[in-house]
């Protein structure tokens, strides 16, 4: 199950080639290529504005792009978001997009929307309850969404996304704003999701978390791939260090490329 880079004898689950997304004159993604294999947790890192979220949006059909995206043997580019989901890709958003009119359980049931025709209401409710238990939200089903903490909201968004057992789960900074303990619980959840047969593409700023859970890392800057490989390799790659920490100038001071670091 746990495929390390270098053992890619399988065809990749998601294969992106020469993807370009332009907003007016700005190329948010510029000929970007990467692939995600079945059964791996693949991290996508890069400073703010490097094109990570745009990449997720292009894969899930929220923004248009040029290039090639093949998922599970079928072309994906140009499909509307709901068809992308039905092809087997679920996602979370950078700021959780929950449905405030619905309860926690109903939010999870939305993740089972495509199964509604085949299952009874009771089966669906049990399936939703199981997803809530899996993500540490057992017993919270009847609450309105706004009663959850920020970390619980992120977990609910994951519960909703994995309810239909997608082949690939795209997570946009799921650990943002979480405490150390919450991050650990999240890492355990991600490993459990990987073990259940769902590959994960994870956007994450916290390199410690990435080193902890990811099997493979792709680093992105200015819409282009700057490094790819095992977490430790990528973290020490000169181009990544430069992108995150800034360029060493002749007088020896550093310019911060990213204010948050």
């Amino acid at each position: 199950m746990n495929l390390k880079p270098g053992t890619w004898n399988l065809k990749p689950l998601l294969e992106v080639r020469d993807l370009t997304v332009a907003f007016g004159g700005l190329k948010a993604l510029d000929g970007f290529s990467m692939s995600v294999c079945a059964g791996e947790i693949h991290a996508l890192i890069g400073p703010n504005g490097s094109g990570k979220s745009t990449f997720l949006n292009a894969v899930t059909g929220l923004v248009a792009g040029r290039g090639q995206i093949v998922f599970n043997g079928a072309p994906l580019l140009g499909l509307p978001p709901y068809r992308v989901f039905r092809a087997g890709i679920a996602r979370s958003f950078q700021t959780p997009r929950l449905f405030p009119s619905l309860t926690v359980a109903e939010n999870t049931l939305l993740g089972l929307h495509v199964e509604c025709a085949r299952k009874t209401a009771r089966e669906l409710e049990q399936a939703a309850e199981a997803q809530l238990a899996r993500t540490g939200l057992a017993g919270r089903g009847a609450l309105p969404v706004d009663r959850l903490t920020a970390a619980e909201r992120r977990c609910l968004e994951i519960a909703r996304a994995v309810a239909h057992s997608p082949l690939l789960l795209l997570l946009d900074e799921p650990a943002a704003g979480m405490s150390a303990a919450e991050r650990q619980a999240l890492a355990a959840l991600l490993r459990e999701i990987r073990a259940s047969g769902t590959a994960i593409l994870l956007i994450e700023h916290d390199l410690k978390m990435v080193a902890d859970v990811a099997d493979c890392v792709t680093a992105l800057n200015f819409g282009k791939k700057i490094a790819e490989g095992a977490p430790a390799e990528v973290a020490s790659h000169p181009a990544v260090v430069e992108a995150y920490l800034g360029k060493r100038q002749e007088n020896g001071t550093q310019i911060n490329a990213d204010e948050r670091r």
Binding site: T60, L62, P80, P81, Y82, V84, F85, R86, A90, R91, F93, R97, L98, F99, P100, S101, L102, E106, L109, L110, G111, H113, V114, C116, L124, R160, A161, H164
Partner: protein, 315 residues
Amino acid sequence: MNHQGTKTPRLLLPWCLGVLVVILPFLVKSPYSMHLLVMAGIYVIATLGLYFVVGLCGQFSLAQGAFFALGAYGLALLQQKLHFPSVFALLGGALLAALFGLVVGLPTLRLRGHYLAMATIGFGEIVYLTLKNWIWLTNGPDGLNIRRPFWPGSVMAYDRIYYFVVVAVAVAAAFAAIRVRRSWWGRALLAVRDNELAASSLGVATTRVKVYAFMASAFLGGLAGAMYAQAETYISPDFFNFDLSIMLVVMLLVGGRNSVGGAVAGAILLGFLPEWLRFLKDYYMLIFGALVTMLMIVMPNGLAGLWRKAVSSKQ
């Protein structure tokens, strides 16, 4: 918390309302009041239709009056030109409205935002002007006479029986709306209203569920219009103007667009309000408008929101 004190009135209230609805037509004396009762029931059906698109789907439709007209004229023309029996003409009128709902909804509901509101204003005007000017088909401003489905003697007796037909349909529509809210469809509609992007990223075919909601809304609007035609036995374009569409939306908003009970209460209240304000004569619209504006400021979630607040504060 007094369990008995809160549980009993909640169970008692629907029964009292039910009994009131049944005995009311025998308490009123004049044919005019009887007619008002019938009209209130018809407004309830049309407003329940709007609940689907405005309440669940969060899209403003200002064409409910036009669907009302399509239902009424659909029934009249199916009876007169194609000699449909009354019941089939009634359903035919409602289905005709639903078909137009599909035609208007499909292109506009693909877009996010308030395009539906704009498109429906235009559609309402087109329907109104067509009814007025396509004299060969609609008899223009002179209107059409409608055959009654049955003839029990006096107008009062007819209205009294028809009242129960309307109430039965309204109750069925209310239960259908409640069921839809609890179904996968209602969930998907609310999800689309809350966050369309997130809903579509979970496999919800957002345009499809919105178009279905708009068609359901048009169907109930058309059904209400066809029943109006049968109750009134005469229709002319003037009744189906833009004011009717506005009135139906206001009924839903005053009642509370997030609840089926609110839609019913709003339609009944605003169905009778014009009669209670009749003594104001020329100032009627002024006071009516001010009253509705005030209601919306004081209770943004309508009568239903007020009711919920009252119940939760008692507990």
